[in-house]
Symmetry: C2
């Protein structure tokens, strides 16, 4: 039987580890601490970096909240009145360079006083420029981690990410996907302890993967054209998060902590009416590959 | 009895008039034409200005669409299957200078084959810096127009705008409001013809009011600090439109024309974690006055 306090403590440890690793990889920026309390119970610690050498704006948020389950959740899940406990770590990093991808990671645990519980989370990558080699590396890392637990995880969670991180109004995926999973609970072939272990490993994989891209891509030269494209892609990131992301919508709808929810917003974003990249450009290649169902590990082989 | 083609033709005339007046007031920019067809019936003409002397990015969109009423509307209105016709003019102008307000105007007509019809619309102003004199002028103009039709209009539509253009997650109004009205249909004291006349006058008032602000405020000096604040306020505009605006949500949900819906996005926007203006600043004054229920006409008197 898992203990919720063990879970939230391990999550907080993961937050600290990730911040330390990202600060090391950045070499200049450091995370400020913004602790907060929730009137109805619990609180969190939001950690923000701005103006790093590589990270323009990044947030690594931990929270552990509890209290009466909000009516909107009870209604959605068709449940009787109960108390809830929720803890998680959420990350969005917007890099300075358009050659470094935006990344998002989340691990979360939710339980109710009636015994219902589950884990959720994932990691997904949003390159401003799709680079097949990077996409293959990223998905290989995720697949290796998943395969260590369950051979079904990677294909299932990869498809789930493709479906979740999708902008129907643009017919584009947010980026090259990754893994997304929700409502993981014990079954005949996976114990709660095993799922918890998997979720923690997702947390520990995150800084390794992102430090790789920080190191590899931050020195790639770029100019004004790439900055302009980055701003437009950040605009799409805003569109996804504000229009389609279930977590953002739910948080804003249920009087969540706005600054922590919207730490995912980029430092700047831009919009142009009906912008179309030219044929044969890296921008066009990117747009053409923001699609569901691409097998990134074997792409181009 | 009103004829729908007369309404859409008059709306299109208003679009042309507004573009001409805005081009004159700007002195440099001109509106490009982007006509489009809707597969299910009808189409529109989106007109976009970018890089004007005063207007950084502005859209003046006309559309007249028809076909089977989308299921989402039927469900919402609890109606039987029917055909619909909808026509309207929608405008959002983002000025270059932070001293010039953002403005939005919309006039629309909707009817169904079962005889149900209504008009809607409004004008609201989003100054980057709240200037009481400007707010008073704006609301006086709206009140004068409303009072010419019905003494109840201004107070009712002013409150409606306060409630509609509101960001619950920020506890802020989008700007200083204006008028907002919906589902106006004939009653014992207002004929359909009279409502149509009112709606058209809203359309014709728009360029007069905005040209006033363009002329009066575009020469006010500003610097980097004001530009930075403008970018943050544009971020709030994005938040309202993508998270809370019913029209935007509905359009994106029902496979509307994305580029026309999102022409309301600013050219650039910015986000800062937990940004707080300093006491006594013009930015703080602005934030303190993004509230519902302010009597702008008599403000400070």
């Amino acid at each position: 039987m898992l203990d919720k306090n063990t879970i939230s403590e391990d999550f907080k440890t993961i937050q600290g580890h990730i911040c330390k690793e990202l600060e090391m990889a950045d070499g200049k920026g450091s995370f400020l601490l913004d602790p907060w309390d929730r009137a109805e119970g619990g609180g969190g610690l939001t950690r923000i970096m701005t103006g790093g050498e590589i990270i323009a704006k990044g947030g690594v948020a931990f929270s552990a909240v509890h209290g009466p389950t909000p009516d909107k959740i009870l209604k959605k899940l068709k449940l009787e009145k109960s108390d809830f406990f929720a803890t998680g770590v959420s990350i969005v990093i917007h890099p300075l360079s358009p050659m470094v991808p935006i990344i998002h990671m989340n691990i979360r645990y939710f339980e109710m006083s009636n015994g219902v519980y589950w884990f959720g989370g994932g990691i997904d990558l949003t390159p401003h420029y799709v680079i097949p080699e990077d996409a293959a590396f990223f998905h290989q890392q995720l697949k290796a981690l998943c395969d260590g637990f369950n051979a079904d995880y990677y294909p299932k969670f990869k498809n789930w990410a493709d479906d979740y991180f999708y902008l129907p109004h643009r017919k584009e995926t947010r980026g090259i996907g990754g893994i997304f999973f929700d409502r993981l609970t014990e079954t005949s072939d996976q114990s709660a302890e095993k799922i918890f272990q998997f979720v923690k490993e997702v947390g520990y994989l995150f800084p390794k993967v992102y430090a790789h891209f920080m190191k590899k891509n931050a020195t790639i030269p770029y100019g004004e054209a790439e900055r302009a494209w980055q701003a437009l892609r950040r605009g799409r990131y805003v569109e996804f998060n504000l229009v389609w992301d279930a977590g953002t919508k739910f948080g804003l709808d249920t009087n969540g902590r706005t600054e922590s929810i919207l730490m995912s917003m980029p430092p700047q974003a831009a919009w142009q009416y009906n912008q179309q990249p030219i044929e044969g450009s890296a921008e066009k290649f990117t747009l053409d590959h923001l699609k569901k169902g691409i097998d990134w590990i074997n792409f181009g082989l």
